[in-house]
Amino acid sequence: MVDFAGKAEPGTTKKYKTGTWRTYKPILDKEACIGCEKCWEYCPDSCKIETEYDGDIIFDTDLDYCKGCGICAEECPVEAIEMELDEK
């Protein structure tokens, strides 16, 4: 059975975890993160998550979807993110 005319329900690509594509993964220095949200703004895969660390807002990575492009590391104004080989 297929859906009428090949229609799809909204937001359903979330089922597909693009994190498996990754070669490198971002490692965040939580102490260094200033919560400026630049990485969140620039992420093509919407995988930066606002979270709390030691009472401060920081942005960590949802590894389910992170493809490891490294834009966040490149654009982080305080160089709080490093890309490391992701040994899965």
Binding site: V2, D3, G6, A8, E9, P10, G11, T12, T13, K14, K15, Y16, K17, T18, W21, R22, E37, W40, E41, Y42, C43, P44, D45, S46, C47, D62, D64, Y65, K67, G68, C69, G70, I71, A73, E74, E75, M83
Partner: protein
């Protein structure tokens, strides 16, 4: 605007390449779009990466019909809403540069000319990426693509980039803007402004493509920024035919800084007389800077 809307209407799990400028462009554009919107999308990377049956990356109602009819389908949706007395729902049409400035130009022109209340967003990655990086009317001078390769008789693409913004403005479109993913808030604000306007509007977002242009995935934003800082991609907006906002450039960079980072321009630095072409590209940037008074 200090903080972008948290709601993602273009969600994760899409199949765009790592570091895709287009995916970021779409994500940001959706942040400028009202919840009550319907979007169309032309055939191309955006459609392919976001709607592999039975999945979809879109949270708002969305339709893909064909390559060259995103604007016409959107116009039909707008007419349907009007007929049903719905004056709340906004209509957004989307397409890549090929779908917009080449194959879809007729429908786009008709949509503009008839004054439909549709916001057209062109994601400009300067070639036909989905089919394997072939030259489009938006490909810049001297860029190497799979159909404009450099060779003994060639320095890459022979033509300069088609100015779709000027074409939109010539139709009397009320809101016309260029934007770059290097400046996310600006993208969101422009799409928002465009969709709030009654009548047609046009926003062209420069979305560098690591795969097609040949640069490291992590450098997508850097490349986008350099296009703006060299004046090769002027970022401005026009309202009712008047330029009302320009992103000024402090210490404009020479075009080499932008070109040397991309494989598609690599031949210019190796071939005899390549510098001649670089000079021509610099002249384009200088002209842009003069026309739009970009220098701070």
């Amino acid at each position: 605007m200090t903080k972008l809307r948290e709601q993602e209407d273009f969600v994760s799990g899409h199949r765009a390449c790592a570091g895709c400028g287009l995916a970021l462009g779409a994500r940001l554009a959706m942040k400028g779009v009202e919840q009550d919107s319907i979007a169309t999308c032309a055939t191309g990377c955006l459609e392919v990466i976001s709607t592999p049956y039975p999945e979809s990356s879109w949270e708002i109602p969305w339709i893909h019909s064909l390559f060259e009819n995103s604007a016409s389908v959107a116009a039909g949706i707008e007419a349907a809403l009007k007929a049903k007395g719905d004056n709340k729902t906004k209509v957004i049409a989307q397409g890549g540069d090929g779908a917009t400035v080449d194959i879809g130009m007729r429908g786009l022109s008709g949509m503009f000319e008839r004054g439909h209340d549709v916001t057209y967003i062109c994601y400009d990655n300067e070639a036909y990426m989905n089919t394997g990086i072939q030259r489009s009317g938006a490909t810049p001078l001297a860029a190497s693509t799979t159909t404009s390769p450099p060779g003994k008789q060639s320095y890459g693409n022979e033509n300069t980039k088609k100015d779709a913004l000027a074409i939109a403005a010539a139709h009397g479109v009320g809101y016309v803007a260029s934007a770059s993913i290097a400046y996310p808030k600006d993208v969101v604000e422009k799409v928002k402004k465009a969709s709030e306007l009654d009548g047609p509007s046009y926003v062209q977002i420069h979305v560098p493509c690591p795969t097609g242009w040949g640069f490291k995935e992590r450098d997508t934003i850097e490349i986008a920024r350099l296009a703006v800082e060299t004046a090769l991609w002027p970022v401005y907006q026009m309202e009712d035919g008047q330029i009302t906002n320009i992103r000024k450039i402090k210490d404009r960079k020479p075009v080499e800084r932008y070109l040397e980072k991309q494989k598609r321009f690599k031949h210019l630095f190796k071939k005899d007389n390549g510098e001649k072409r670089i000079k021509e590209i610099q002249a384009i940037a200088d002209r842009n800077a003069e026309t739009f008074e970009l220098d701070k």
